[in-house]
């Protein structure tokens, strides 16, 4: 394996998204932009593209199951055939774009670039770009496992058609997608107009950026999804909820002083959530303090009011089992006006959402022992590979001046030495897993056991 060479393989960008999400529009934008690159496009749906400088090939998706020793996976046979032919040509392409069908599971297309020796030697999966239609995403997330997988596999998520929904709804969607895939860059777009730099050349990843976007990403999991800090005026404020995805919801209300940190309240809330709940029916008053309330929401349709009875006007912290947006949860002041929280924080919830897709990120300062890591990953992926959709790492190897980067899809993974560490950057070992039913504690412990 070369030790200090740039990866010269041709980058492949995979474009996924449901029918109508805007894949063809984005494809046309990429092809018409003046980037001077020769691009080959493998299309699966007969779209309306026809651009002179690009080669467009229509392919019929053929998924092959392959058994190779202990590895079992599916690949796209049509891509192996078509790309194998393209790579013989003397006029090489600078980039390859693969558009999948709307309902495609991105697994087989991604695995193709790891499983076939020829593909692996000449092509590099640069990134998976998933377009979503903001107006219909919520429905698709409910109905379709393929849609959830397309979100989970993405390196970049394009929230398209933001002009068709209001901004709050886009914020909610973004938070939800972020909880499923902590790694992806998220771009909002109208008519698929995105910065192409966020779509092409995604090579490698930056956990720090993922953390900047989603500080909850590396946090332990909490029994609640959201915490907010309110300044309640004198008089009776009211907690109002509508019907949501769950007939009950647990909440904790804590009196806090102006100088308390939300983190302090958070720790108390964790303990209270573990305690036995007091059931509250709509109309019952909630007292900030040492109670964990289970709000019964199915007793009565429509709006449900729970009066808040603080001892006095003052600050309270509210922790909710589900994200407030799912229940249109608001706090109304005594005059009936909605109160905005002074501060709010979304937490990594320990329970499964409507979908169990989540991300686990791990950052360690000590160098990794590549031998131990290889053994651990081989075991882990053999047992859990079906549930681990994507895995990426930037590793600090002992006595090595270069970063080592790798990525995996289900049971397959592939690593390369990358650029040297810069003098001003900390040498960290970072890993991220995106998948179904991930066990954070187990993954973290397993990775730590591979450190030197």
């Amino acid at each position: 394996m070369p030790t200090n060479t740039a990866d010269t393989r041709i980058p492949v960008t995979v474009l996924t998204g449901f029918l109508g999400a805007g894949k063809t529009t984005l494809l046309n934008r990429i092809l018409t932009e003046q980037h001077g690159q020769r691009i080959a496009v493998i299309e699966n749906e007969f779209g309306e593209i026809g651009i002179d400088q690009a080669l467009v090939i229509n392919a019929e998706e053929e998924i092959f199951e392959m058994n190779n020793g202990c590895l079992c996976c599916t690949v796209r046979g049509d891509l192996i055939r078509i790309l194998g032919n393209l790579m013989k040509r003397r006029d090489k392409f600078d980039r390859i774009l693969v558009e999948t069908t709307g309902l495609a599971d991105p697994g087989p297309v991604a695995q193709t670039f790891f499983m076939d020796d020829e593909m692996k030697d000449h092509l590099r999966l640069d990134g998976i770009v998933t377009l979503v239609d903001c107006k219909h995403l919520a429905q698709h997330l409910e109905d379709s496992a393929e849609c959830r997988e397309q979100i989970a596999f993405a390196d970049t998520l394009v929230l398209n058609k933001v002009d068709l929904v209001d901004e709050t709804a886009v914020d909610t969607l973004e938070a939800r997608l972020r909880a499923m895939n902590g790694l992806a860059k998220i771009q909002r777009a109208r008519m698929a107009q995105v910065d192409l730099g966020q779509v092409l050349d995604l090579g490698g990843f930056d956990l720090k950026r993922a953390l900047d976007l989603n500080p909850a990403f590396l946090e332990p999991e909490y029994p609640f999804e959201w915490g907010g800090w309110y300044a309640l005026p004198a008089g009776e404020s009211v907690l109002v909820l509508e019907d949501g995805p769950d007939p009950e919801m647990s909440v904790v209300l804590l009196p806090v002083s102006e100088h308390d940190a939300l983190a302090t309240a958070r720790e108390i809330a964790v303990e209270l959530f573990a305690a036995t709940a007091v059931t509250a029916q709509p109309g019952d008053a909630l007292e900030p303090g040492a109670h964990h309330y289970r709000l019964r929401l199915a007793e009565k349709p429509g709006f449900k009011h729970f009066p808040l009875r603080p001892n006095a006007a003052g600050h309270v912290a509210l922790f909710t089992q589900h994200h407030p947006d799912e229940f249109a949860l608001r706090v109304l002041d005594p005059s009936g006006q909605p109160l905005q929280p002074i501060y709010a924080h979304a937490y990594q919830a320990g329970h499964s959402h409507d979908d169990t897709v989540s991300s686990v990120g791990i950052v360690e300062e000590r160098p990794v022992n590549p031998y131990k890591l290889n053994l651990w990953l081989s075991d882990l992926l053999r047992d859990k590979g079906a549930d681990i959709f994507r895995m990426k790492g930037v590793l600090h190897l002992a006595d090595n001046l270069n970063r080592f980067v790798f990525q995996g899809v289900h049971m397959l993974f592939d690593g390369q030495p990358d650029r040297p560490w810069r003098a001003d950057e900390p040498r960290l070992s970072q890993m991220i897993f995106i998948g179904r039913a991930l066990d954070r504690a187990e993954l973290t412990a397993g990775f730590r056991a591979c450190l030197d």
Partner: protein, 346 residues
Amino acid sequence: MPKKTKEAQVRIPWRVDIADAVQDLVWSPDGRWLAVAEVSGPLLLIHGDNGVVAQRWPGHVGGTLQLAWSRDSRWLASGGQDGQVRLWNPDSVVEHRTLAGGNAWVGGVRFSPYADARLITAAGKELRAWTLDGGLIRAIQPHASTITDLAWHPRQPLLASSAFGKVHLWDWQMLDAPSEQSLSHSSPLLNVRWSPDGRYLVCGCQDNSLRCWTWPNAESYQMSGYSAKLRALAWDRHSRWLATGDREVVTAWDFSQGAPMGQMPRDLEAMTDRVLDLAFQPGGEGLAAGDQSGHLMIWKTTGPDFQLLWQGALRDGFQRLAWHPHRRLLAVGGAEGAVSMFESAA
């Protein structure tokens, strides 16, 4: 230029520059013509004797995929990415006829080896049989996925087609009611070859293994342990040796005592990269193989032995090779353009 490593004399009587990598390279059965397809489409018809280019045809838009000669050497057929099949006559500047191959890349073309001179084409999942005047005799879809290769049984009127998980056997005499005979193996089958005695059928698999069936009783064997998918397979004329190429190694299986179950194959001298093509000399004892880095090796088989006669690095890279049907001539198609003729004195 190639370097000599043994005493064998190899000379290069001619070399023709072409624009792109060689996709396919086929001698006419009479040994007069060498037909060459470039991966991007153009076709060349070259005089085998002197390397003079007799015809340059445009081939297929998008790329030409496969070539085949009729038994009487009068017709060359080509299949391409444009979904077309074209028939060419060596004496004509323009194509003789174009047939609609199907709604996919035409990846397979074969003439029937019989006097009826029919043409078989494979496009996607569909096989079509044609008369040479362009009449479609029949179209069938025996496979659920793209057909990867075609091979005629050497003695029976049977055409084998391979695809994912299955080899389908088409009885040529039952053209109106194709038989439903098939052999199954749950792996993507990349190619199919009959042994010259017709007793074995083998397929290279995408999952780094080789599948072998006896014929006609269809007992099946698997040979595994390869380090890459098997794209190159060839039988010697005695049906004794099956040579296979994976990553850097040409391996020969000895069928002299029946299917070599439980036996170790012979690993020949290592090449430098992935083996792209290999072939035994039709009337002689030579075995030639070329790899992705442009390394060519030629062995001589004598009974149980393989002797390395010659090896060298090709300046034009390597893609395909084809032995002359009667003479000690080997045509080599490069990855960087150019077709070269190698002639061995031994």
